[in-house]
């Protein structure tokens, strides 16, 4: 092969000077620098966004998969002293809607939803007509119904968890337990008084959700929910039931307007039962009247009448003004102080102090009371807790009315000695009687169960005075006293009746409040029971006839429930107990 070499003349093509396009050096450098600067700017911006000022993007990112979830906490239970439920919360669902979205439902869907919720379609349409972005369709729907609704997936219909409070014992304990509003806030009774400890504080957690909405990871700190604490009341639901049913029966039997009953443990000051009539069902609070809602035993005052007499006698014994068997002339059953006349329902002749209490003589009590200075009497009333709220922390408890002694007139001092011109609540009266049950100490009351040693009360009377008073109280509830119907088979009981006129518009009307407050058993008191019946109109109006039998039934039932051995000298009971003193 012949290789022809190129002639070596001229320039090679690539070296042709015509094609020498040499750029000026500064131009290429400028472009390079500009590009570099643009890149630097991008890097700087990136650095700024990602590192220095990253909140905004972080937030945008988080909002796509991070969620804060509330962890709900339940409200504490209210139980009685034996752990029986009185109030308990259980989860329910509330069904809510975004009305704009929900209006896209077609007619059959609407009918189906309305049927599931137990509403009619027009009602449902009414709720959805709202121009707000949120409306409750129905609250407190049972979880089963809510699940069925969730399956159907109605447009614009959503659910939310909430709690509903149930009261298994219903109307029986309505006044003491009270109730809550829709937002789990106590409105009445113990629910209100113990709101702070019953209330559960919801917690929260931050989580990452995946595309399907299920939680895949916990991020950040979780705040655990704090469930509300349970409240254990001193109430004994058995005794409460006895008190409630007996009171209800008596109010109906005597066609009375209202009534109240209180049972207190004499040793500890715990409130074992508190019943009122009329009452209401806390599970269904439609059409409630104020009369039903009132916790009369704590919030209403009345003039107690003769129930007050034992205190007058006790003060006289304490001060040594009289002895147990000092004879007082009560004839002729009337006496005049100033322009007023005090009279006895049944005239008596000469009575001992014990008989004055037994027969409930107004004249006798007045004669005893006029031996005191007003200050002395006021101080006794005050130390018995009259004129001051019982301090239970219960909403609406009243002070009662005890006027300052400086402007007492003699007639007022006289009427106060037998319980007129002084107003007390039934709870105050029951509490005052703890001095007779507890060797002269006025017990502080407690709504909640006392587990440690019971507290000591302030001493009002000496044990000797109290011993004598107990005998008088037992006489009053005996065959010769004013309340033979208050007796309890198998037990020795004592107490005092009260039949007081009601004040209406500043004058005494011919309407009565029949009451009985007593202690049992007399040999070693365990209970103080107070019963009050407002305006009995049928079957008598005397405390002994109306309130006495209720006392007897409640006390008998309560003593049996508590397993207190009988102390009455009945042959069978004595042979059975056989263990000596009780």
């Amino acid at each position: 092969m012949v290789v022809r070499r190129r002639p070596q003349r001229g320039h090679r093509y690539t070296e042709s000077p015509v094609l020498q396009l040499a750029l000026q050096g500064w131009r290429s450098r400028t472009v390079g620098l500009l590009l570099m600067a643009a890149f630097l700017a991008l890097v700087a911006r990136g650095f700024y966004l990602q590192v220095i000022h990253n909140d905004f993007l972080q937030e945008k990112g988080d909002s796509r998969y991070r969620r804060d979830i509330e962890i709900s906490a339940s409200r504490g239970k209210i139980v009685d002293r034996n752990g029986d439920m009185l109030a308990v919360s259980t989860p329910m669902k509330s069904i809510w809607a975004i009305p704009g979205d929900a209006r896209t439902m077609n007619a059959p869907q609407k009918r189906q939803l309305a049927e599931m919720l137990d509403m009619n379609v027009r009602e449902l349409d009414g709720k959805l007509a709202s121009d707000k972005t949120f409306t409750y369709v129905k609250r407190q729907v049972s979880p089963e119904t809510a699940d069925r609704i969730a399956v159907v997936k109605f447009p614009g219909i959503h659910q939310e968890k909430e709690y509903r409070r149930f009261y298994p014992t219903g109307d029986m304990t309505a006044h003491i337990v009270g109730f809550t509003g829709v937002d789990d806030k106590g409105l009445e009774g113990v629910e209100l008084a113990f709101q702070n400890s019953l209330f559960g504080r919801p917690g929260s957690r931050t989580v990452i959700r995946d595309r399907r909405g299920s939680i895949v990871e916990d991020v950040g700190a979780t705040k655990p929910p704090q469930d509300g604490k349970d409240v254990r009341l001193a109430l004994d639901s058995k005794i409460q039931y006895i008190a409630y049913s007996q009171l209800k029966e008596a109010v109906e039997k005597h066609s009375a307007k209202a009534g109240g009953a209180v049972v207190i443990d004499a040793r500890t000051g715990e409130i074992l039962a508190l019943a009122n009539w009329p009452t209401y069902n806390p599970n269904n609070r439609e059409r409630l009247s104020g009369a039903q809602l009132r916790n009369r035993a704590l919030t209403d005052t009345y003039e107690p009448g003769s129930v007050m007499k034992p205190f007058t006698a006790a003060l006289a014994l304490e001060r040594g003004k009289v002895r147990f068997d000092t004879v007082i002339n009560c004839a002729p059953g009337r006496m005049t102080i100033g322009s007023a006349t005090i009279s006895d329902a049944h005239p008596h002749g000469a009575l001992t102090v014990a008989e004055v209490i037994q027969k409930s003589s107004n004249v006798g009590t007045t004669k005893i009371a006029l031996g005191f200075t007003p200050k002395e009497m006021w101080e006794m009333f005050d130390s018995l807790g009259f004129g001051q709220a019982p301090n239970l922390g219960f909403p609406g408890e009243v002070n009662g009315r005890l006027r300052p002694w400086k402007n007492w007139r003699p007639i007022e001092q006289a009427t106060m000695s037998y319980g007129h011109g002084i107003a007390v609540s039934l709870m105050q009266m029951a509490r005052a009687y703890t001095v007779f049950a507890h060797d002269g100490e006025l017990m502080p009351l407690s709504l909640t169960k006392i587990d440690e040693a019971p507290p000591h009360g302030a001493r009002v009377f000496s044990p000797q005075t109290v011993r004598e008073l107990r005998i008088m109280l037992e006489m009053a509830a005996g065959p010769e006293g004013t309340a033979p119907k208050a007796r309890v088979p198998g037990y020795r009981v004592g107490g005092k009746t009260g039949t007081a006129y009601k004040i209406e518009g500043g004058v005494y009307a011919k309407k009565y409040i029949a009451s009985f407050v007593g202690i049992a058993p007399i040999s070693d008191p365990r209970l103080v029971v107070a019963v009050m019946i407002d305006e009995p109109t049928a079957g008598g109006h005397y405390g002994g006839d109306v309130a006495g039998p209720v006392f007897s039934q409640i006390t008998g039932g309560a003593l049996r429930t508590m397993g207190v051995p009988p102390d009455a000298p009945i042959q069978v009971a004595e042979a059975a107990s056989g263990k000596g003193k009780l």
């Binding site: 989860p91 298994p168 014992t169 895949v216 088979p489 009945i570 059975a576 107990s577 263990k579 009780l582």
Partner: protein, 94 residues
Amino acid sequence: MLRFNMILLLVVVICALGVVTSQHRARKLFQALEAEQERVRQLDVEYGQLQLEMSTWATHPRIEKIARDRLHMVTPDAVGRVIQAQAPIKKGAR
């Protein structure tokens, strides 16, 4: 040198895959935990409902009604009643 780099690259890839799998497993386990916790909550709710139901069945008015009407029970007279004192005597008794 090149071979060493390749080995390192391989190790890095394996580690990365390991991270992915363990993350996946962690999420699986977490979901299982969530499900169990949800079950705990549901059982709690059910327990509460059963307690409520029990106390509704056991209300004193209902018991008394059944005792009197269906079982024809009566309260014994005081005469025929024997009360045994609790032994040992409860704290607080005198």
